[in-house]
């Protein structure tokens, strides 16, 4: 313990040097999303700039701070000044920023969006007072984007591993007691009280117990866990150790998607650092607790997010779930008592153990304590990773944090493919486990997808069901056959070949699958269809009765047209059309042969792109076919 305390005071001194820097520091947000937006090129360019101009400055790669729509983000902290954040930086802008801020010493205010102090600095507002960040409460994400995730000292300086030290000074039963009192529920989706699972596992006798961190984030449209691991891997690892201590496990396994190479790399580095600091291995910090962590890469199967399927996968088998009981807490991996906790649950634990159960129990609302992270994506102005108190309304999330939608709002999908599609009337619904369930949706892992009037709900329902259907493991019949039939019916409807009876069949099938499927994947798979049937029945009817898709999405129900009055005959569309459907001489309005058109969108895109032509090509819903 003393050895670690020494390391902590060293780490704090190291951090103070960053806070009170003598030479400029440049921060680049280089998590996966930042990299996709071009962060790595910015790093190379910054290095080049520093060398070329002979400036002494330090570059730190940080994780994701949340507002993805502002990526890539570059921050500069000059000595004696607060850290200033620049958004949507590209190579051209970067050299202007570096020249102005680094060499001339004046912030390039045109591109600056916030500073990291509590006050306005040179007309630049505080970063955490920005509309997207102000309503948030950052507990799990508290270090994300602020520290270097590959440096354990940064985490230590931010009171890292304090929660573990507190835990080790009490008994495992007391740790479970604290977690019980805090009121935290599993953040993987189902919301089962964490302490209950733990108590069962603790009380089950067994030589060997396992603690598994479920980082198999398979929901399309969700990236909270990836961002957390990439930005603050130690928080998750500390959580694993606390959980391991509480349940009496000596082995921890992180089951993570192979599609997240950067997260895996950062975990590996973090584990090595922990070993170096004596935080893994035998008799950790002089206690009787011994713990080791290994990483298992998932091989791409959505169903492996389900506990028993995940266990089968680690055992080297097909990832098919089995019926419960026995629950994994009694008989799990290799028949040993096993606890599987979600990344976010584990990432929250250090905060609870550090600040106490009472502190956590004051956040959120009765029965739904704490915060939840969400990935806010789709047709919304401000996309990104957010964290709010449970009980916040959807309206606050969409309009205050997300900045609303550009076109009229249509629906919000919570809980990914297992959740439901909620209409406008639910905007004042509080985001908690029970409220969402009462509306026919679920909390799920935390993907929030916003849809506007350009999104066809029938198409979206088909998309989700098609996804779960493809990911169905095929073990139980309701899921394997039932979802298949539902997809086929939806497919007919989107092709304009539906019949009115289809709606009743869909409902009956959906209800049956929910009741009869073996695991969570099947039991929740019909949710997107059932909720859209309930809240957007008219759109289904329009597809069936009128052969009309009001969002102009369903290909068989739409057609492309040239507006003769607007067409300047610039030939751009003629050049990109792959089937020769558009023809006409230069400077004369073009013709579009609908029988040849494959609706590939090329002409539509190029027409909007070429300013001269304007929007001469439109997509509209077709007339009902006889």
């Amino acid at each position: 313990m003393n050895k670690l305390k020494k390391k902590i005071s060293e780490a704090k001194r190291k951090w103070e040097k960053i806070e009170d820097n003598k030479e400029p520091i440049i921060y680049v947000g280089a998590a996966s999303c930042g990299r996709a937006a071009g962060a790595l090129e910015l790093i190379t360019e910054t290095d080049r700039f520093i060398q070329e101009n002979n400036v002494s400055a330090r570059l730190i790669q940080v994780g994701c701070i949340g507002p993805c729509y502002l990526e890539p983000l570059v921050d500069i902290k000059m000595p004696g000044q607060p850290r200033i954040s620049y958004s949507n930086v590209n190579i051209g802008l970067l050299s202007k920023i570096l020249k102005s801020h680094l060499i001339e010493g004046t912030p390039f205010s045109k591109a600056a969006i916030g500073n990291f102090s509590n006050d306005t600095f040179m007309d630049i507002p505080p970063f955490f007072e920005l509309p997207m960040l102000k309503p948030q409460m950052r507990i799990v994400l508290r270090n994300c984007g602020l520290i270097d995730p590959e440096d354990i000292d940064h985490y230590l300086a931010k009171d890292g591993y304090q929660g573990l030290m507190n835990a080790l000074q009490t008994s495992p039963e007391d740790v479970i007691g604290v977690v019980r009192q805090s009121g935290i529920r599993g953040r993987g989706g189902a919301g089962f009280p964490t302490f209950k699972k733990w108590t069962v596992c603790r009380n089950t006798p067994g030589e060997q117990k396992y603690l598994i961190c479920n980082a198999d984030e398979g929901d399309p449209g969700a990236f909270m866990n990836r961002s957390l691991i990439e930005s603050d891997a130690h928080a998750v690892l500390e959580g694993m150790m606390i959980a391991g201590y509480a349940i009496g496990a000596s082995k921890g396994i992180i089951y993570i998607r192979a599609e997240y190479p950067l997260a895996i790399e950062r975990l590996k580095k973090a584990i090595n650092q922990m070993k170096e600091y004596g935080l893994l291995g035998k008799n950790i910090l002089g206690s009787r607790f011994s713990f080791d962590v290994s990483i298992k890469e998932g091989a791409g199967a959505f169903v492996c997010g389900e506990e028993t399927a995940l266990i089968a996968s680690i055992e080297g088998k097909r990832g098919a779930p089995r019926s419960r009981p026995p629950f994994p807490a009694i008989s799990g991996l290799f028949g040993c008592p096993t606890i599987i906790n979600n990344v976010e649950t584990l990432g929250t634990l250090p905060n609870i153990l550090r600040n106490g159960a009472d502190w956590y129990n004051r956040i959120g609302k009765e029965g739904n304590r704490g915060t939840k992270t969400f990935s806010l994506v789709g047709k919304i102005r401000r996309t990104g990773l957010i964290e709010v108190q449970l009980g916040t309304t959807l309206r606050e999330i969409i309009f205050d944090i997300g900045g609303g939608v550009q076109k009229p709002f249509k629906a919000i999908q919570t809980g990914g493919p297992s959740g439901g599609c909620l209409s406008e009337e639910f905007l004042d619904l509080a985001v908690d486990y029970e409220s969402l369930a009462s509306a026919g949706s679920i909390m799920g892992s935390g993907g929030l997808i916003i849809m506007d009037e350009d999104t066809c709900v029938v198409d979206v329902a088909k998309y989700f069901l098609d996804f779960t259907q493809k990911e169905s493991c095929g073990k139980c019949i309701p899921c394997r056959v039932g979802t298949r039939h539902m997809v086929e019916i939806l497919d007919r409807i989107t092709h304009g070949e539906g019949v009115p009876e289809d709606l009743l069949t869909l409902r009956t099938l959906g209800d049956t699958i929910k009741k009869g499927a073996l695991c969570g994947l099947g039991q929740t798979a019909p949710n997107p269809v059932l909720t859209t049937l309930r809240y957007f029945r008219n759109e289904y009817l329009e597809h069936i009765r009128d052969g009309r898709c009001r969002a102009v999405v369903c290909k068989d129900l739409i057609e492309y047209r040239v507006i003769k009055e607007k067409c300047t005959g610039c030939q751009s569309c003629v050049r990109v059309c792959p089937t020769g459907a558009i023809s006409g001489p230069r400077s004369e309005p073009h013709n579009l042969d609908v029988t040849k058109c494959i609706k590939c969108r090329s002409c539509y895109e190029i027409c909007r792109f070429e300013a001269i032509a304007g929007d001469a090509i439109v997509i509209r819903t077709a007339e009902k076919r006889s």
């Binding site: 996966s32 999303c33 996309t383």
Partner: protein, 149 residues
């Protein structure tokens, strides 16, 4: 037995639960899971070839045909779907003349779909080899392909 495979086996114990990590390493080494590799794994782990095919075909990561010189992955996650990912996939299938999961006869490209690359805020995205291209359109993608030989 190829040296590369022996090298992989040395890292893993002879236990059935090591099957998936071994398959992952084999794919990393050879680009796909060849029938011969399965035979070697079967002898090493003492489990049947059928069982190995059963497990490997269950997971989306494993492929059984040779990959192309460049791998294209179209993201069809929710955000990408809402913003037109499927249209990009259709365009690629048409332009390359192959279906999803196949390789072009000249081995230039192979084409796959992925459920989510986790760059939802930058949708729709397409990954070619290790590079992720954000906010793609049919026309931009068509130009992009020309850069790969």
């Amino acid at each position: 037995m190829p040296v590369a495979i022996e090298g992989i086996f040395e890292k893993y114990q002879r236990r059935p639960d090591q099957l998936i990590p071994i398959l992952q390493d084999v794919q990393k080494e050879f680009g796909y899971i060849a029938p011969e590799s399965v035979r070697h794994i079967s002898r090493y782990l003492r489990i049947s070839e059928n069982q190995i095919f059963g497990v490997s075909s269950f997971y989306a990561q494993f492929r059984f045909t040779t990959p192309g010189r460049h791998s294209i992955k179209v993201c069809l996650g929710t955000a990408c779907h809402v913003r037109g990912g499927a249209t990009l996939l259709e365009m690629l299938e048409r332009e390359l003349g192959i279906r999803c999961g196949e390789t072009t006869p000249d081995k230039r490209f192979d084409l796959e779909r992925v459920a989510c690359l986790g760059c939802c805020a930058l949708s729709p995205v397409v990954q070619i080899d290790a590079d992720i291209y954000s906010r793609m359109t049919v026309n931009k993608l068509s130009e992009l392909l020309k850069q790969y030989e």
